[in-house]
Amino acid sequence: MKRLFPHPLLAVILLILWLILQQSAGLGHILLGGVIAILASLAASLIIPEPLIVRRPLKVLQLIVVAGLDIVRSNIAVMLILFSPRPQPTAAFIEMPLKLTNTFGLAVLACLITATPGSAWLEYDRERSTVLIHVFDLVDADEWVETIKNRYESLLMEIFQ
């Protein structure tokens, strides 16, 4: 069982994506999608050896809502700066220490920080467990780090670690 389904969650997500793309939940689509999902998750197990465990599924919804609001807010903020006559953002690099070490948690955090227009995830240092982030319009570095830690890192640690 473990060898046939190394990443059950990945297989289920792939099957759901397949069915949404086909816009049908017919038996044929479920069978074909299921075969593709299992083969793809077997292939993925070669490059992702560690198991993906979501400990608190409900927290994922909370994460989506929080991140969605953040993306909307920072889009408006960056747009206002870009449409000003002479955009002069106070950009800065931030070296942020992270307690989160789980691969999937880090990947999700990188996606969220990059998807938010005001910040970009540049370089993660696994030895020192820090990440280099470039912030577009920085007001207070300590406050910014605290916000990310409280809003995302603690949530991701609850979900993945």
Binding site: Q23, N75, V78, F83, P89, C111, A115, R128
Partner: protein, 117 residues
Amino acid sequence: MIDDLPLWLSILVSVLVVGGALLTMAGCFGMVRLQNFYLRIHAPTMGTSMGGGLILLASAIYFTITRDRLIVHEMIIFLFVTVTTPVTLMLLARATLFRDRIEGNDGVPKRINGDQQ
């Protein structure tokens, strides 16, 4: 079918499409107007996050109502774009960081336990 579209739907979809296009355009202007590479990497993320998101949402709402069934596969585009953007961005940004560090340019954080110095 286009002729008897309800007014509220036309307004809602137009607002979403124009809003998304405006955000994407702001991002493109940013690419041209900002001063250096590290500032410019922020601009296109507006198109890939909310700009694209609003246009996809408009598409989902329009086709869900005109076709009388739930159409959400636009969300997959949003998911894939969000998941793949950091990969390209990190590749570009780290290449630039590497180059700036090698050339010893100012305003770039050094590696603390540097293996390149």
